[in-house]
Structures are given as C-alpha cells and as structure tokens.
Amino acid sequence: MAVYKRSYRGYSGALTPAWSRFLVLYRFARRTMFRSRFQTGFFTLCFFFPLLCLLGIYANAHLSAFSFLTKRSGPLLKMDGSFFYIFTSVQCTLAFLLTAFLGPGLVSPDLANGALTLYLCRPLARTEYVLGKLSVLVITLSWITWVPGAVLFFTQSAMEKGWMAANFNLLIGVLVGSFLWILVLSLLSLALSAWVKWRVVAGALLLAVFFMGGGFGNAINAVLQTQQGYLIDIARLISIVEVSFFRDGTPQPFSPLEASLALLAIAGCCLWLLMRKVRPNEVIE
C-alpha cells in the first residue's frame, strides 16, 4: 500500500458502552496483577480460611457422620455472630495485606511516567479513571471478603431451617463491614500511590498509616484521658461497626453510626487527595 494512503482514519469498530468503560482499566490491571506469582499465590491463599469455614459448616450440619470423632452431643461450631466476626476479621486482615501489594502499583507508575495523558486523551473522564483503578481493588478484595462471607451465610441457611431469618443481621454485618473496609483501604492505597512516587514506599506507608494510626490513637487516649483517639484508628473504627452487627451489647467508645461517619470522612479525605493528583497535563504557553 502506498504510504500516502496510510492517513488517519477514525476507529469504526464497536465502542465500549460509556457506563462500563472504567472496567477496561480493571481488565488490563487484572492481567498485570496475576502476572506476579507471589500475588497469585497470596490471592489463592486467601481462600484457605473460607474453605475451612465451609467445611466446618458442613461438618456441623452432618454431625452424626462425624460422631466417632467426638463424644460431644452439641454442634461442633456455634454459628453465631462470633463465628462471622472472626471470619470477617481474618479476611479483612488478608485483604489489607493484599492491598499493600496491589494498591501502590496502580496509580504511581502512570503519574511517574507521565502516562495519565494517554488515558485521558481517550473517551475516559478523570472520575472514570479513578473508578477504574478503584474497581481493581474493590472487585479483587470483594472476592476474598464479602463474597465468601455471603456463601458461608447462605450455606448455613441451607443447612438449618429458620436460621436465616433469625440471623439476617449477620449477612448485613458481613456486607457493611466488608464494603466499608474495602472502600477505605482502596481509597487510602490509591491516594498514597498517587502522592508517593515510589511504589515500594507507598506500600510501606500504607502499613505505617494503619499501625501508626492505632498506636498514636492509643497514645492520645492515654495522655489526654479520652477516647477520641480511636477516631484515627481505622482498624478500631471498622471493628466498632462490625461488632454492632455481630456481638450486641459489647461496650464500644463510639456508636456504629459515628464510627461509620468517621470512616467515610477518612475515605472522603483520601478521595480528595487522589483527585488533586489525578489531573491531565496543563499546556502552559
């Protein structure tokens, strides 16, 4: 073909619907994510505990088959709030570790290499870019938090008649607790990823923010003889929300509503910080 015929022609193929364009970023990020053997291995490991719980539920419901193992007449596991609280806590901890590996690499390479313009010159808005990057974490973390939690809940419901109606708040607890945790974790890691150029430093900072928040919150409480220090302890705030669904009556420094508002405020701050960094290049004449 003659060179002069290789002129620009607009793309004439099928367009991705506008509402789902952000998922294109997820699709590409997922490929990168599972290219690392360590991350793939860790992600797989995150399903070990839910599987163990599932086996526990099964064994619980079919206790007669396992009667040779125990002389106890009662159930092996008590399927109550404590069970789901422990399950959610373990999975949320694993979600935190997974975020520390995945999150920092999502935005920082785009900013450090000036690649943001390449995204934004396509029919993709800033909000869609952020939504796309956020979806990478939200979808991945969902697979290891509320999805297996819901599976456990419905499995137990199928095993015991009337259990579902009596314990519906446990499902809400799993969903609300996991959603809040995922939202705060994702936004925090994306904000750190956007503000810290180095991926590895952003990961270490995520670790520091969580542990320092808890430690400094306790220091504030001890020195100022107050309980307001817990407001900067993200893990404690999420625990207050979860406990309200799973373990009624446990005294807490704040109401679940106050804790949820504090978490949303932290998420809002992170989003603001993120949006400040995610900007197309300006042409200065």
């Binding site: 590895v200 270490a204 670790l207 320092m212 430690g215 220091a219 003889q225």
Partner: protein, 284 residues
C-alpha cells in the same frame, strides 16, 4: 582500617547526612518524631489551662512518668522509631537503586564495605539526632506542667536525671538495632513491606515467644533498659495473659552488649551481601 578508609567513610557520611536530613521525601520522619511531642505539649497546655481555671485532674509527676513510660515503650519504640528507621535505613541502598544512582558510588575506588559502614553511620547519626531530640522535647513537654520545686525534686531526688539518660540511651540503641535490621533488609528485599511486616510481627510477638527466641529481637534488650517497667494489662484476656511472660530483664551491660552484638552480626552479614551486590535497575 587505615586512614584512607576512615576518610572515605567520613566522605560517605558527609554526603549521606545531607541527603537524609534535608530530603523532601524524608519529611514524614520529622512528623513521626514530633507527633508525641505535640501530644505531650497539648496535654501540658490543657493541664495549665485547667489549673488557671481552678480545676485540676491531679496528674502527679509519678503518674505522668508512668504514662510516659507506656507511650515510650508501646508507641515510640515499637512504632515511631521502628517506622522512622525503616524510612531512613531502607532508603540508604534501596532508595539509591530506585533513584538509579547507586552505580555512582560503586564506580568510585572504594571498598563496598566502606560504603556500607559510611551509609550506616550516616543513617545512625540522622536517626539518633532526630529521635533523641524528640525524646528530650517530649520529656521537657511532660515536665513543663509542673512547678520548679516539683521538677527539681523529681530530677535530683527521684532518679529523674538517670531516667532521662536511660530514655535517651534507649532511643539511640533502638536506632542502632532497627537501623542494622533495615539496612540489611534494604539489600535483601526489593519490597520493604515484607521485612517490615515480619519484623513488626516478630517484635510484637516478643512477650509470647519462648525465652531463647526473645533474645533474637531488638525490643527484648530495649525493654530491659527502660527505666520504668509496664506490667501486663489486667484487662487482657486470660488465655493471652497466660502466654505473655514478662521476661526477666537482663542486666544493663548485658542488654547493651547483646544489642551491639546483634547489630554487629547483621552488619557483618550485610557486608558479605554488599560484596556480591549487583545492580539491575530495569527490575526495580
């Protein structure tokens, strides 16, 4: 080491000190160090205001020194200095690799062990200065709420001066211990999250470890040197309280020797590693 080597070490220290103290990316370390100062200052201001208003919470100097000991052991040593050293010492080698500037050092006619010692000493000086000043300021902020008679009684008759000296010494030893650990980790691992998380868990689990394993940690020696010991929380679940054992504190000279030995061992291992260090910036 001959004179030339020492001059080379001093040269590296001079270069690194400037980078460590004035780097924009190290700004958060100052925040980390000064956060408890702000907290104690706020407490003092509140106490003075309450006193002016005729109300007081009656915090005696003994109570305050106990609260300070708790904050020092559980927040300052285990978290602030820990993460501060992580930031300073991991940056010495790993930061240069990320900046793609380590080869400039390696191209100079200098033994790599000299480079490592120079970098370590520079990090140690920076961390010790930053965190010791913070410790001194925290103690000053704690004491500022009391009148001069109470302060002089505490300093000269209640072993206050020796307590202050102990806190400053423990701060420097913590920088020395954690510094060596993170310097080695910076050369061994590409991602600092893994060693940081492992060391953090190991140090946090120290009270429940068997006594032989307790000794392979930095916090064990530092706790022994702290002037005020904090008992096990009475609100702790009984199962955990059974596991937690407040190990017999070792004698001061043994604790210092143990920590120096631990750091020296890690540094010797790092020296062996740095000899075989190869740079591949494309994988960073």
């Amino acid at each position: 080491m001959n004179l030339l080597r020492w001059q080379q070490v001093l040269g590296v220290i001079r270069l690194e000190i400037r980078k460590t103290f004035f780097a924009k990316r190290g700004f958060w370390i100052y925040l980390l160090a000064l956060a408890p100062v702000g907290l104690f200052l706020l407490h003092t201001i509140i106490e003075i205001q309450l006193r002016h208003m005729g109300r007081t919470r009656d915090a005696s100097i003994g109570q305050m020194s106990f609260i300070y000991a708790g904050i020092f052991q559980f927040f300052y040593l285990r978290l602030a200095i820990f993460f501060g050293c992580l930031g300073i010492f991991m940056n010495l080698f790993r930061g240069e690799m990320l900046d793609k500037s380590l080869h400039f050092y390696l191209l100079t006619p200098m033994r790599r062990e000299v480079l490592l010692v120079g970098k370590y000493l520079a990090g140690l000086i920076a961390a010790s200065v930053i965190f010791s000043i913070s410790t001194a300021l925290q103690l000053a902020a704690v004491l500022a709420q009391f009148d001069s008679a109470t302060i002089s009684h505490f300093l000269y008759q209640s072993h206050g001066l020796s307590q202050i000296a102990s806190y400053l010494g423990v701060t420097i030893l913590a920088c020395l211990g954690y510094g060596s650990v993170f310097l080695a980790a910076g050369m061994l691992f590409r991602n600092p999250i893994i060693p940081a998380a492992v060391v953090l868990v190991w140090e946090a689990a120290n009270p429940v470890l068997p006594s032989i394993l307790k000794k392979i940690s930095v916090i064990y020696y530092l706790k022994s040197l702290c002037p005020v010991s904090i008992p096990v929380d009475p609100g702790m679940p009984s199962l955990l309280a059974l596991l937690v054992s407040n190990a017999e504190p070792v004698a001061g000279y043994l604790a210092v020797t143990g920590l120096l030995l631990l750091s020296a061992l890690i540094l010797v291992a790092s020296m062996k590693r740095v000899r075989r260090l190869e740079i591949n910036y494309t994988t960073e």
